[in-house]
C-alpha cells in the first residue's frame, strides 16, 4: 500500500462544498446534515455503508435531487443545480455505479454524447467527434475501436467508455461511484494513474468505493458517512482501515470471516470434463459441508461455469453429478433446481431479483412447485416460506409486501438467498456473493455461508476478491481462460499463489 500524498502541496482551494444537506423521501431521512468539502487537486474518498447516504449526497451534488435544506458552494459562491445538465455545465460530473453507456450506438458517440456532440447547424461533425473521442481514450491509455457499438464491448471497456465521457465534459469535479467494480488489476493501475494525473492538473475527484485497500492506495483525504450524517473528514495518511471500518459500522470491526472447517469427505458434486461457451474440460468435486471458492480474472469463465452447473447455460460435453444422480446434459434451470443445485447470480439487480415485485413474489418465484398444487398457488404457503426466509436471514424490511427495489443492496442479496434457500439446495452456487454490499452485511453473508455449510450444504462461490476467496473458502479453485489452472487449500493460500494461478503461470502441482 502506498502512502498517499499529503495535501500540503495543493493550494487548499475548495472546489465544491456541501453544507448541512437534508433530504427525505416518503418521510424517511436519507440525509440529515451531510457535509462534504472537496479541495481542488485532491482525491477525496466518500465512504459509508450502503444506505449511509453517499449516493443521495452525490445525487444532490449533481442536480439529480433537490435538497430539502442546506447549501452547495462552488468556488466560493452559493449554487443551485436545477438538474443534471446545469451541474454538468458547472463542471460537476458523476459516473454512476450502473454503467451509463448506450449499447446501441458507437463508442465515439457514447463518449461525445449530448452537448459534447460537435455539430454545425444540427449536422454532426463526425471527424471532430471521432478526434474528440480518441483524445479522451488516449488520456485513459485505452485502445478501443471508435466505430464499434458500445454494447459489443466487454464490461471493462464499457466502464472505460463511460469514464471517457466524463472526461470529455471537462469536469472540474469528478464523482466516481465504484469505478473499479468490474476492472482487472492492470486496468485499475491504469485508472489510478489517470486519476493521479487529473488530480495534479487541479481536478477535484470524489471517490466512492467499498474497496478500502484502493482508498488507502489512491486517496488523499476521506469523509465517512453514517445514517445520513457526516461523521468525520480526515487525511488518509492519518487513518487506517480498522478505524475506517469501525467508524463506518459504528462499532469495532469484528472478525469478518468466521471459522472454517465443516467440510466432510462425502462427495456432493462431481463435475467431469465439462465443456461449454468460455469453459473447457472442467473436472472437480465438491464435498458436503464444504465451501469451495472459485477465482480467476474477469472473463476466465468462472461465471459461465456456475451458469452451466445451474442449468442456465448449455454445455456441449461432460457430466454433472449431484450426490449419485447424474443430470442429463443441459438440464435447464428448473431441472437443476429439482436435482438440488441453486444459483445466486452475479448481477443481483438484473438477474437475482425483480425490483418492482414484492419480497413475497420474489421468493415465491423460485418455489412455484413448492407453493402450488394443481396449478393454483397458495397465498398462505407463500406467506409461510417468506416469513421463514426473512427470519432466517434477518431481512430488514417494512413487510413481506415491500418492493425489493426499496431495500438496501445487502437486503436485496438476502432476498435472492432466501429465494434459493427455500428450495433447500444440496449445492448452492454463489456468483460474487458480496458485490456492492456494505461491510456489516458482508460479515453476515460470510457467517450465513458457513452456517449453510455446517448444515450439510455444499457452497460453490465465485469471487474476484482474493482476500474474500481466502477468507470464506475451505478450498480454492482458480480458472484461467476457461480451464482450471490451480487448486489450493484456503489455509495454505496466499495472494501470490492465487495471482500466479490467475495468470495461468504456476505449475499445477502445488498443494493439492
Amino acid at each position: 500500500m502506498n502512502a498517499a500524498l499529503t495535501t500540503e502541496d495543493s493550494s487548499h482551494t475548495i472546489a465544491l462544498e456541501a453544507r448541512d444537506i437534508f433530504k427525505h423521501f416518503d418521510g424517511v431521512h436519507a440525509l440529515s446534515g451531510a457535509q462534504l468539502s472537496v479541495r481542488k487537486g485532491e482525491i477525496h474518498a466518500l465512504l459509508g455503508e450502503n444506505g449511509a447516504g453517499k449516493s443521495t449526497l452525490v445525487k444532490v451534488l449533481t442536480g439529480l435531487y433537490t435538497p430539502d435544506s442546506g447549501t452547495i458552494v462552488q468556488n466560493g459562491s452559493d449554487v443551485e443545480f436545477a438538474n443534471v445538465r446545469v451541474a454538468n455545465r458547472a463542471g460537476i460530473v458523476a459516473l454512476y455505479q450502473e454503467l451509463s453507456i448506450i449499447p446501441s450506438i458507437s463508442v465515439a458517440e457514447n463518449i461525445m454524447l449530448g452537448e459534447q456532440t460537435p455539430n454545425r447547424g444540427g449536422l454532426v461533425q463526425w471527424k471532430t467527434l471521432r478526434r474528440g473521442a480518441q483524445e479522451q481514450l488516449d488520456r485513459l491509455n485505452q485502445t478501443i475501436p471508435l466505430g464499434k457499438l458500445a454494447g459489443e464491448l466487454s464490461p471493462v471497456q464499457q466502464t472505460m467508455v463511460a469514464f471517457a465521457r466524463a472526461l470529455a465534459t471537462n469536469a472540474q469535479v469528478l464523482i466516481l461511484d465504484e469505478p473499479t467494480a468490474s476492472l482487472t488489476d492492470t486496468e485499475i493501475k491504469d485508472l489510478f494513474a489517470v486519476l493521479r494525473k487529473l488530480r495534479d492538473q487541479g481536478v477535484a475527484i470524489v471517490y466512492v468505493s467499498h474497496r478500502l485497500e484502493e482508498v488507502f492506495e489512491l486517496c488523499d483525504r476521506l469523509t465517512i458517512m453514517r445514517n445520513g450524517e457526516t461523521i468525520i473528514t480526515k487525511n488518509v495518511a492519518d487513518s487506517n482501515i480498522d478505524e475506517v471500518i469501525s467508524t463506518m459500522v459504528g462499532r469495532a470491526a469484528g472478525e469478518l470471516y468466521p471459522e472454517r472447517g465443516t467440510a466432510t469427505s462425502t462427495v456432493a458434486l462431481t463435475v467431469e470434463k465439462v465443456d461449454g461457451r468460455k469453459v473447457k474440460d472442467i473436472s472437480f468435486t465438491a464435498h458436503k459441508g464444504e465451501v469451495l471458492g472459485i477465482g480467476g480474472l474477469a472473463g476466465s469463465g468462472r461465471s459461465e461455469l456456475l451458469r452451466i452447473l445451474a442449468g442456465a447455460q448449455k454445455h456441449t460435453a461432460g457430466t454433472i453429478t449431484v450426490g449419485d444422480k447424474t443430470l442429463r446434459p443441459s438440464p435447464g434451470v428448473s431441472r437443476a433446481l429439482e436435482a438440488g443445485i441453486a444459483l445466486v447470480p452475479e448481477e443481483r439487480r438484473s438477474q437475482g431479483v425483480i425490483l418492482s415485485a414484492t419480497i413475497q413474489d420474489n421468493i415465491a418465484l423460485a418455489n412455484i412447485p413448492g407453493v402450488s398444487s394443481f396449478g393454483f398457488v397458495s397465498g398462505s404457503r407463500i406467506v409461510d416460506i417468506t416469513r421463514q426466509g426473512m427470519l432466517d436471514l434477518q431481512i430488514k424490511a417494512r413487510g413481506q409486501r415491500q418492493p425489493v427495489g426499496e431495500l438496501s443492496g445487502g437486503n436485496q442479496q438476502k432476498v435472492v438467498l432466501a429465494k434459493m434457500l427455500a428450495r433447500k439446495p444440496k449445492v448452492l452456487l454463489m456468483d460474487e456473493p458480496t458485490r456492492g454490499i456494505d461491510v456489516g452485511t458482508k460479515a453476515e453473508i460470510y457467517r450465513l455461508i458457513r452456517e449453510l455449510a455446517a448444515g450439510g450444504t455444499t457452497v460453490v462461490a465465485v469471487s474476484s476478491e482474493l482476500p474474500e476467496l481466502m477468507g470464506m473458502s475451505d478450498r480454492i479453485i482458480i480458472m484461467h481462460e476457461g480451464q482450471i489452472s490451480g487448486e489450493v487449500q484456503a489455509s495454505e493460500a496466499t495472494e501470490e499463489i492465487l495471482l500466479a494461478y490467475c495468470y495461468g503461470k504456476a505449475d499445477s502441482h502445488v498443494n493439492n
Binding site: A30, Q351, I354, D361, L365, I368, S372, A397, E406
Partner: protein, 322 residues
C-alpha cells in the same frame, strides 16, 4: 435507497393520495361530471346497462391484452384476430355448420393465431411489435378472404341471441365479459402460470434463473390472448348480427389504452386486470357521456386522448421524486 429500515409511514398527505389514485379519481370525476350534467339520464338503469353493453366486448379484448402486457409484451393483432374469428364463425354458420361447432372452430382459429404469435416471439425471438404487426396484416387479409370483402349476415337466431339476448334485463355479453375477466383475474393471481407471467414481465432473466420456463410462459400468454380475443370477436358478430373483415379494428388501440390506464392504478405500474377494467370503464363512460351531451364525435376523440394523457400524467407525477 435509504428507505431500507423505514418504519410504517405516518399518514401520507392528501395530495399524494390524490396523485396515487389519479386514474380512479379521473373516472369518479367523469362520472360525477356527466351525472351533474344529466342527472335524469346518466346513472339511470337503462344507461348504465347501455354503457356496460357497449364496453363488454372491449373489456374482453382488453383482458386478453392485459395478459400479454403482464408478460411485458403487447399484441397488435388482437383486434384483427377478433374480427377474423367473428367472420369465420359467421361464414361457417352460413355454410350450414352447427352453431357451437362454428364457434369452437372460430375460437380455435384465434388460439392458433395466438400460438403463432407466441411461437414467433418466444421461440424465434422476434420482437412483439414486428411479429404481431405482421400477423395482424395477414389476419386482416384472411378476414377479407373469409368474408369476400362483404358483410356476412342472416346469422342463426340462436347465435344472435348470444350477443343480443338478455338475462334479468341485462344483455348476455355483459355477463360473458364479467365471467371472462374474472377467470383471467384469477388465472393471473392464483395460478402458477399467472405467477410465471408476472415474473417474466418483471424481469425475464431473473425469472429464467429462478427456474421459470420463460419461453413457455410467453407462448401461453399469447395463445390465451388469441383465444380470448377470438371469443370477443365472435360475440361482436353475434351482437351486431353480422360480420365484416374490419368490424373490431378499433378495439386494438382502445385495449392498449385501457391497459395503460390500468397500469397507473397500482403502485408498481404493472399491467393488472382490475386497472384494465377501470380503463375500459373510463373509455366507455367517456364515449357514452359525450354522446349523451351531444358532443361532436371528432371532439370526443380529441377529448378521449386528452383524458388518457391527463390520467397517465397525474399518476406518473408520484414517481417523479424518486
Amino acid at each position: 435507497m435509504s428507505t431500507t429500515n423505514a418504519p410504517a409511514k405516518p399518514g401520507r398527505s392528501l395530495g399524494r393520495t390524490l396523485l396515487q389514485g389519479g386514474t380512479v379519481i379521473a373516472l369518479i370525476a367523469l362520472i360525477a361530471f356527466f351525472f351533474a350534467m344529466r342527472p335524469d339520464v346518466f346513472l339511470s338503469f337503462t344507461n348504465v346497462k347501455n354503457i356496460l353493453f357497449q364496453v363488454s366486448i372491449l373489456a374482453i379484448i382488453a383482458s386478453a391484452q392485459t395478459v400479454v402486457m403482464v408478460v411485458g409484451d403487447f399484441d397488435l393483432s388482437l383486434g384483427a384476430t377478433s374480427s377474423l374469428a367473428g367472420a369465420v364463425a359467421a361464414a361457417l354458420m352460413l355454410g350450414g355448420v352447427p352453431m357451437w361447432t362454428a364457434i369452437s372452430v372460430a375460437a380455435g382459429v384465434g388460439l392458433l393465431i395466438g400460438l403463432a404469435n407466441g411461437f414467433l416471439i418466444a421461440y424465434l425471438r422476434l420482437s412483439a411489435f414486428v411479429a404481431t404487426l405482421a400477423t395482424m396484416t395477414s389476419v386482416v387479409g384472411l378476414a377479407y378472404l373469409v368474408t369476400a370483402g362483404t358483410t356476412l349476415f342472416s346469422l342463426p337466431e340462436g347465435f344472435n341471441n348470444l350477443g343480443q339476448g338478455k338475462f334479468l334485463n341485462v344483455p348476455l355479453p355483459v355477463y360473458i365479459a364479467i365471467v371472462i375477466s374474472l377467470i383471467i383475474w384469477g388465472t393471473l393471481r392464483f395460478t402458477t402460470i399467472g405467477r410465471s407471467w408476472h415474473a417474466t414481465g418483471g424481469n425475464q432473466e431473473v425469472a429464467r434463473l429462478s427456474g421459470v420456463n420463460v419461453r413457455r410462459a410467453r407462448l401461453l400468454a399469447f395463445t390465451l390472448a388469441g383465444l380470448v380475443s377470438a371469443i370477443g370477436g365472435i360475440l361482436l358478430a353475434a351482437r351486431l348480427g353480422s360480420a365484416s373483415a374490419v368490424q373490431g379494428s378499433d378495439n386494438m388501440m382502445f385495449s392498449v389504452a385501457a391497459v395503460f390506464l390500468g397500469m397507473t392504478v397500482i403502485r408498481s405500474g404493472m399491467a393488472n386486470l382490475g386497472g384494465t377494467m377501470v380503463g375500459v370503464t373510463i373509455i366507455g363512460v367517456m364515449s357514452n357521456g359525450l354522446n349523451i351531451l351531444g358532443v361532436n364525435s371528432y371532439v370526443q376523440q380529441v377529448v378521449t386522448g386528452l383524458i388518457i394523457i391527463a390520467a397517465v400524467t397525474l399518476s406518473s407525477l408520484k414517481n417523479r421524486e424518486r
